[in-house]
């Protein structure tokens, strides 16, 4: 419970942060809410020589209406996402996912930037931003670049972020009126997802349109459930189709297993949650025991 010796650096601006990172190279680690980083350091699983705290960079803390998008600063906490009236109205998936992360303490400290940069294979927000086709702004002294959420995650705790880059902003589409759901299976409410399913869609007449689904907790990274999206878009959501789609949703996925859920059980659970998530956006009450 005692980290190895490190130096603490607290830049006051994004510019200062990026130049600090450039100077310190890969011996430095950015800290936002510290909810993942500090645990790793206390267990001595991570021992950065420098900790660069973004907490004093006020310019990274905002939720802004940008017309067809909402811009979110990397330092916005789960609690702030959950409470944001703008997001609730225009992009309800994000506050919903944020509200089931960890516990109150974690939600008060943990940030959206940290959650994505950490690229936890069971991260709740990772699934939400992926289902939303969010865009992520990465900034360094070399300049800034935008990447799609779909390109961001590379694997377990791995993303395209370079050591000298800061994730500065997340842009999610404004999708007021769309249906969305985030369903999470966890042993206890404060636990990481055994399976988390983020989904959003429009209902166009009777057909389902622009359905996007992302799944977390199941594999070495969050992923889009393409087979589900293809099967459902343009179709009317009804029980037989949902069950059939859900039952095939894990085909070809390399499902991980651990002490809380073997790969076999997790596969089953994922199918059940895919089905339940589709029902949720389709407002279809089904049998409490889906046949998948």
């Amino acid at each position: 419970m005692t980290p190895e010796r490190f130096e603490y650096v607290a830049p006051a601006s994004l510019d200062e942060a990026t130049s600090t990172l450039r100077d310190l190279g890969d011996e430095a680690k950015v800290m936002a809410g510290g909810q993942s980083l500090l645990s790793l350091m206390k267990l001595r699983l991570a021992s950065p020589r420098y900790v660069v705290d973004l907490g004093r960079v006020p310019a990274l803390n905002y939720i802004r209406d940008e017309g067809d998008a909402i811009a979110i600063g990397a330092l916005v906490t789960y609690a702030e996402l959950k409470a944001s009236a703008l997001l609730r109205e225009r992009c309800a998936l994000l506050p919903r996912a944020a509200s089931v992360v960890g516990d109150v303490q974690v939600r008060n400290r943990g940030t959206i930037g940290g959650a994505l940069a950490h690229a936890d294979p069971a991260g709740d927000l990772c699934a939400a931003v992926l289902a939303l086709d969010a865009r992520l702004k990465l900034v360094s002294t070399r300049g800034e670049r935008w990447v799609w959420a779909g390109e961001f995650f590379l694997g377990m705790y791995a993303s395209v972020l370079e050591p000298d880059e800061v994730l500065a902003e997340i842009r999610v589409p404004a999708i007021a009126g769309w249906r969305c759901a985030y369903l999470k299976a966890a042993r206890r409410p404060s636990d990481f997802a055994l399976v988390g399913v983020a989904v959003r869609c429009r209902i166009d007449g009777r057909a389902c349109a622009d359905l996007a689904m992302a799944i977390t907790g199941v594999s070495d990274r969050v992923f889009r459930a393409r087979s589900v999206e293809e099967a459902l878009n343009g179709r009317e959501l009804e029980t037989a189709l949902i069950e059939e789609t859900a039952s095939r949703s894990m085909d070809g996925v390399d499902v991980s297993g651990d002490i809380h859920a073997s790969s076999e059980y997790r596969t089953h659970l994922a199918r059940v949650y895919v089905s339940r998530a589709i029902r949720a956006v389709g407002a279809i009450s089904g049998p409490p025991t889906p046949s998948v």
């Binding site: 005692t2 516990d103 042993r187 206890r188 409410p189 859920a261 089953h268 409490p288 025991t289 998948v292």
Partner: protein
Amino acid sequence: MGDSTRPLESDGVFVTSQWVGAAVPRREDARTVQGQARYVDDIDMDTAHVAFVRSPHAHARITAIDTRDAEASPGVLAVMTGRDVAAATNPVAPRGITASVTQYVMAVDKVRYAGEPVVAVVAGTQYLAEDAAARVHVDYEPLPPVVEIEEALAEGAPLVFEEAGTNVLLHDAFEHGDVAGAFRGADLVVKETFRMPRFSSTPLEPWAIIAQWDPGTGAFVVWSNDQQPGRTAINVSRTLRVPIDKVRYIIPDSGGGFGIKLAVWPYIVILCLLARRAGKAVRWIQTRSEHLLAGTHTPEALIEAELALARDGRFLAIRVNSKENDGSFVHTAGIYPLIKFAVIVGCYGIRATAFEFSTVVTNKAPTVQNRGVGKPGMTFVLERLVDLAARALDLDPAEIRRRNFVRPEQMPYTTPTGEVYESGDYPECLRRALELAGYDEWCRKRDALREEGRYLGVGIAAGIEPGTSNLGYYYISRGRPDFLGSVEGAMVGADFDGGITVVTGSVDAGQGHATTVAQVVADMLAIRPEQVSMSTHFDSATSPFAPHSGTYANRFNDVELGAVVAATRKLRAKMLRIAAFVLGVHERSLALRAGTIHVEGDPTKAVSFQEIAAYAYKKALLLPEEIEPGLREIAYYQNRAAKVPRREEFNIQLTHANAVHVVVAEVDVATGFVTLPKYVIVHDWGRQLNPGIVKGMVIGSTVHGIGAALYEEFLYSPDGQLLTGTFMDYLKPVALTVPRFDLGEMESPCPTSPLGTKAVGEGGAITSLPAIANAVEDALRPFGVTVTSLPITPEKTLRAIRGARVI
């Protein structure tokens, strides 16, 4: 404070009836919740810090240890290896086992579990100590580990203690009554093999120790959160090779014990050695990771059991064979079985019992007596068998229990093994629980919801919660008497201003002892509880304590309060003598009221406690010769119901509360997730001294049981690595997963405890396990599922539903 003056009954305990039985708010709470409690780590003292190098292997020979880099590390004051420990100490003395084995408080030449301390490092700060510990180089030659019970028992299994020649360090079998005859004559035998998980209580504050050494006197002062200073004083003295009086124990506030802090003492030995070696006081605050890895667990058990019945559902005999994985700590190995078999018949009039047990050692972490010590497992097994029998006979689970309960008119009832159930009305307890739960209605609801594809089940369990251990039961197997009975001490006095002060031999680990003691003393002396001050800090230099002293086995309400009552009586008698002298009347004509003693019928002729104290101390010269100065009385107390345990007559515990839990469980049969929409408890707690504390205990311990029933298990890989090393993987129940509890009322006073109280601290953790299991099994009846193991995890449940049929 009442304004009526009540005459003092010469042999009555209480002179007022104002406080005992009232839900007086806990005086401990304000400081605790405001962060003002003083735990070991809050002790403001300049100390060095300790870090341990722990074995990465479950089983290995230590071929070399190189401490040179560590010794050269910044701030390092001392480095100590297992061999250093072996040179300076005696091996750990086993209690329960018969095999002769040698083990020291640190690993010597061989490691027996992953996490065993191999080297200890002392440095100026915790950071430097950890840094230096990382620079100790240990070479290991890995040995094949034995992890699970079955492996340890297999032919040719690697041996955890080679010198024992076996991994079974204790085996014994007992039979009471005509078991074979009962099984022969039975109409039905239900038989099953059950598995209890390895779990723990994981108190909020892990172990914590500061040790200081005085080179001038060779004496140590130890601050720790030990739960049982009496035995610790003996263990540390024997192991450290110093007389008992050379170690002073101070126990400040403790953040929960639950039995887990009965095993702090080996580390006290280590810290004492380090303090002496470093020439400086040393501090060790166990981390959560260390606690889960190398702190103590409840042993897992594999239990074969069968129950013989008559056609009408009467239980004729029970037979149990239990194998326990006691890990690798010889001191506590073998402690579980006999205390667990003390409740082999539960609440029932079964007249023939047979049990056999094996204490198995493996390369897992040490075990220690933990909340309920084996009784949760025994009750799980018995109450599962009862439900299986009810199902086989197509009897309602409530009805089959009713037919077999020990009846109130049989009290006091002696079980075949010699336990004496002093009082109670088990059928009535069940009746109240069923009524409070709305049992029939829930059964109807369950049947109706099944039509809609929802799976609810109603579970009932009845359990005995014994209190106050008649210690030394383990020598029934060893054949050598050791500890007997249960003794506790207390000192009650008046300070120079007449304020009442209490010092106890037991320690508080969150139970609210000071609150309860103040209520009792207040009613004995006709004062307010606020006028009674009691330090919750134990100090062996001033606390009257016995080798049994400590807080475990629900003994506070019995023997500690017995000692408090006895010491208060002595004090009261002396105060009356002084008052009689001052007022010039006979003691018998005196009464107590509001901090004064006055002539009965004439409150104006009074002397205050303050004045009495002045006579006792400052003006003692004025006292007649036959009254000794001072106002401070010590008393020791023991529960006289204890008999010397024998093979024929166990008498292992001395009070017996009972409880019925009725639980509704709902299973999501698509995922295997279980929720508990309804939870009812009727716990016959004997007389309640403080209903707030009593109910808090019952609820808290039930939550602990929910943990073992649904969440908690220490899992190991096949090579003996702990897989549940953090609270992300070792799952405790949390507020959001705990149901609301509806508690009924039931008070059958205990005739053998001084105030009529019975145990409340463990019962929830005992009775909840089968109640929840029975509810889940009932919910899954359409799938033909049997629950034989805990915890009931979603994955196991789903597998059972989808064909495996067994959880």
